[in-house]
Amino acid sequence: GGPLGSAAFAADTVKLGVSIPAATHGFTGGIVWWANQAKAELEKAHPNLKITVKTASGAPEQANQLQDLVTVTKIDSLVIFPFESAALTQPVMQAKKKNVYVTVVDRGLTDPSAQDAYIAGDNTAFGRIPAEYIAKTYNGKANIVALRGIPTTLDNERWEAFTGVLKQYPDIKILDGKYANWNRDDAFKVTQDFLTRFKDIDVVWAADDDMAFGVLKAIEQAKRTDIKEVFGGAGSKTMVKTILDGSNPLIRADVSYSPKFIYDAIKMTAEARLKGDRLPATHIIPSALITKENAKEFYFPDSPY
């Protein structure tokens, strides 16, 4: 024990493991970048802090990494962005049983007792905010087509929040929603076909800025003028910049869901552990509507996303 009471809980060194999805998509690319950013800054600031960042391309691989971080790297703290809530619950539980302090980011585990802290973006808001925005902007009357991500719990949450809000507006019609796998190319194709199929569309909810990119190209190609707005999601720097500059009339708003929360989570966890503190059990980073007025608060030109 140390000479001072409270410092007794502070660790001499902290070995922090960070487990995140591999950069297979704009958003996860941002996650990786911000995680590395946090590592660089924090290790410089705290010589007794060692951060190990690992990326996984699937739930089983992530579970393997967890094991390796615990068994071999011998981490004492973990920040994890789980691929899937349900699938990672057991593996995280195993880590926690070995006295690792666990901060879960973004996707809460199905058994909350497996985590010490939970820092998350607001997936419900990710679907709710665009719905409310559309309802308000178009006075409760619009034709919408939607692009969904990859079938996951996360996507379901957003989709349910989105459709839940719009149910209250009888004149708002969701013409159809198809999966475009958070992928620019798939979004392009799905949009092309939506454009063939529906002659009168007011808004496209792309549910992700990467997909919005493909949507815009498809609309541009079809030279359609009926579409008034494309709403993406997650606030990528290109889209935020577009809103800021007002350079594309179709892009006027976005919802924030910045990959920066991994940075915040790592920083909060590391600093708390160094001090011997605990984090609040749940910390939700609110999602906000991004419009021209507040866009510069959400603009990070150095991030890849």
Binding site: T28, G177, K178, D185, F188, D193, F194, T196, P304
Partner: protein, 324 residues
């Protein structure tokens, strides 16, 4: 006697994909009248162009008894490299058109180079094609992710404008990519059926040993098939880049599966030896049409899209099943 002859004439093995495609077209039109419009047709053909062009190269590789799993990542890396090069050149070279032309040339050279590297490892290194290209599948995509820092590599705006017509332009009402697809198909067909190279490819796939004894330079021909596929990937990328103007780690994901599927659905044997370019083209179009129809209708749960695709693929293959 005559029964057998007429059976050959209507060889289902040959016409399975065509019949399958026709049936699909009928179903599509029945489900949504917008399906049978010129615009939709052109959309489908245009988006088929990438995979279609790659499939034609893949067809040669598969006929020769090989396989290439890396085409999707190769396309992604070529796209990334090409965009970086063009962005870099934009400053020094004046005309955007010249920059784009240089970029295209670079893409073709890079593709050919990657293909030849595969061929070299396979023929000189004597490593299974499956392993070589599984390895480069990882390598190419990792390099792109690294170049892109995990994000996307995006083409500068003014270059994008200069380059746009290559994807969005049309000639005589037919989009440029469709023209290119057509050209590559015809060239592929001639190369396979009317040149010595094509004959050698078939001979090697049919029996490598016999080909070797018959004075075929087996290694060289194999090397060239991979090189050819690489060039096809280069061409496909050249058409792909102006579409979205960007390359990201998701670019070209699973294209290898689509390209191989197009070849096999088109009636080429997975074991090599014989194959058809026309079948491959039809196979590629057929696969696109299935997802086009699924996008144009909502009769079944979106969750089941992949199941419908799977069933149609099996059904088409059943139409052209091998004779007993």
């Amino acid at each position: 006697m005559s029964a057998a002859r007429s059976a050959r004439r209507f060889d289902p093995h040959r016409f399975g994909p065509v019949v399958g495609l026709l049936l699909l077209l009928i179903v599509g039109t029945a489900l949504n009248p917008d399906f049978a419009t010129w615009d939709n047709l052109m959309n489908v053909l245009t988006r088929t162009a990438f995979i279609g062009i790659i499939s034609i190269g893949m067809c040669f590789v598969i006929i020769s008894g090989g396989i290439d799993l890396s085409v999707g990542s190769m396309a992604a890396l070529i796209a990334g490299g090409m965009i970086l090069l063009m962005n870099a050149l934009a400053g020094s070279v004046g005309s955007p058109v010249a920059v784009v032309a240089l970029g295209m040339l670079f893409a073709l050279l890079l593709g050919g180079g990657f293909g030849l590297a595969h061929g070299y490892l396979i023929t000189r290194g004597r490593i299974e094609p499956f392993i070589v290209t599984l390895g480069t599948l990882g390598i190419f995509r990792a390099l792109l992710t690294w170049l892109a820092d995990g994000g996307a590599i995006t083409l500068d705006n003014d270059l994008s404008d200069a380059y746009g017509p290559v994807y969005y332009g049309s000639l005589l009402g037919i989009p440029v990519p469709v023209w290119v697809f057509l050209l590559v198909s015809v060239a592929g067909g001639i190369l396979l059926n009317r040149t010595a190279f094509g004959r050698y490819v078939q001979a090697i796939g049919s029996n490598e040993q016999v080909a070797r004894f018959a004075a075929v330079d087996v290694d060289r021909v194999k090397l060239l098939t991979y090189g050819l596929l690489g060039v096809c990937v280069g061409i496909a990328t050249v058409l792909y880049v102006p579409r979205l103007g960007s390359a990201s780690p998701t670019t070209g994901l699973l294209w290898e599966l689509e390209a191989i599927a197009a070849v096999i659905v088109g009636g080429t044997s997975f074991k090599g030896g014989e194959g058809r370019i026309a079948g491959t083209v039809i196979g590629a179009v057929l696969l696109s049409v299935i997802s086009n129809i699924l996008n144009l209708t909502s009769i079944i749960s979106v969750y089941l899209n992949a199941a419908v695709q799977g069933c149609v693929i099996i059904a088409v293959a059943f139409l052209q099943r091998r004779r007993p």
